[in-house]
Subunit: 276 residues, 2 copies
């Protein structure tokens, strides 16, 4: 059997590659892509078996461009992966922590470490990417300079980790969808993700939700976004517990279809366990 | 009467300052702040009258850190402002468009102009901020180099706009809350924004929404986020049409209070009209 190839967006050592390692260990080959769109085309044209797509972060919220692509393509969600984001401060081997005066990273990672860096008296410098900052520091070592990126990035580029968990808040998780061309095998407890649109009339969303609530189906996510160029029309991203083959879920989906102008089932997949 | 001071996050010329200009014209003084948290403290300690806080963007989604601060502070939403994000390509005066080989801007702005820049054969270079890129190019002019930022940034730093609306998708709006210490005067149509939490039991959210739907109150936004360190507890960001002084809204709020473990009314305010 040929090895599983999983596409991800970013440089080698990105948190998305860490999600692949956490989910598949060394059984999969990670394929770096420049954009989310390239993940979809890599899976569709067979260059990769699967794609690892970030869909939400506990601090930053839903990744709307990821959902835009999920609407426009017909890949199925095979699994979800939840990765604890643990920012590491790293530098060229031999550097000591008290020598560090500045740190380069993506602005969002720097923002998540703001208080810690302030306490350590280290100046934050914005960089376009976390793993890219690690790669560039390894290629062009600079004194007194560190990078914030994943432990995998330190390993990938042979940098030394000077401090782990430099984030201010430890409730920092990113949730990924594993995308593929086929249906995954059922393994309960299952979750199902759907996208639908309603018109802006009193109770339209309520009527849709009644279809789930009446059947004791638990929501685990709901989010509304205005539809492009369609004032007063909304699309909803909804996740719930259960599998699309369950009779109660099938009844609810048929009820939602009657009340929505568009419904797409992204997939039913095994619910992830939160990492420790 | 002393002049209104409105705090915003970013460099002068940021899209947030443009929101202040659009909403208040020249009647207000804009006060730049380094972080969202500083907007709240400026309003609380009276250094500014109001604060202009971005809460969602039509392409990027909800600004979760803004909501985190709204939960932790007790400012009231006085108004909402919706600003069309129109990215301008600008350079040192006298530069011609066909001389431009590279453009610096915030990665999100560059991503929103990706196809246009590709067609124009201009290389994107990541920078920590849109208005900051304009300020730095004006201070240190570079040949063949442009910046993507707001028209206000071009005006602020005396750069020449070479092309307007270089964004790929024109449905790019940012919604702001205007924050203050007092209640705004009522001016209908009104909207009300609330935050509440429910426990993860079947139908808990449904029961809350019934309180609104039964009274024909229209939702205009709903979003769930997991609560920090409280698995299976969720908080919801909800906006609806109507004013907290309306009897039907008051009844609905009392009903929601019975069913939620936490309810905060951010404010009732005049609904914004979408800009053309």
């Amino acid at each position: 059997m040929s090895k599983t190839i999983v596409a991800f967006q970013g440089e080698p050592g990105a948190y998305s590659e860490q999600a692949i390692r956490q989910h598949y260990g060394t059984e999969a080959t990670a394929l770096p892509c420049r954009s989310f769109g390239e993940i979809f085309s890599a899976v569709q044209d067979g260059r990769s078996t699967l794609g690892m797509l970030p869909v939400e972060n506990s601090l930053a919220g839903t990744v709307i461009p990821a959902y835009d692509l999920l609407i426009d393509h017909d890949l199925r969600v095979q699994a979800e992966a939840i990765v604890r984001v643990e920012h590491c401060l790293m530098a060229s081997p031999g550097t000591k922590l008290d020598e560090i005066k500045r740190v380069k990273s993506h602005h969002q990672a720097l923002a998540q470490c703001e208080q810690t860096l302030h306490r350590m008296n280290i100046e934050p410098i914005n960089y376009y990417d976390t793993a890219g900052a690690a790669r560039d520091l390894a290629a062009n070592p600079e004194p007194e300079t560190a990078v914030i990126a994943s432990a995998l990035a330190a390993h990938t580029y042979n940098l030394e980790i000077l401090a782990r968990n430099v984030e201010d808040l430890d409730f920092n998780y990113t949730r990924f969808f594993v995308l593929g061309r086929s249906e995954p095998e059922r393994r309960d407890p299952s979750k199902t993700s759907i996208i639908f649109t309603t018109r802006h009339v009193p109770g339209a969303l309520y009527a849709v939700m009644r279809e789930l609530a009446e059947r004791d189906i638990n929501l685990t996510k709901i989010e509304s976004r205005p539809r492009r160029n369609r004032p007063w029309h909304y699309r909803f991203f909804v996740d719930f517990e259960g599998h699309e083959d369950d009779p109660s879920v099938q009844e609810a989906l048929l009820g939602i279809l009657k009340r929505s102008s568009f419904l797409k089932v992204l997939g039913s997949y095994p619910a992830a366990v939160m990492p420790e």
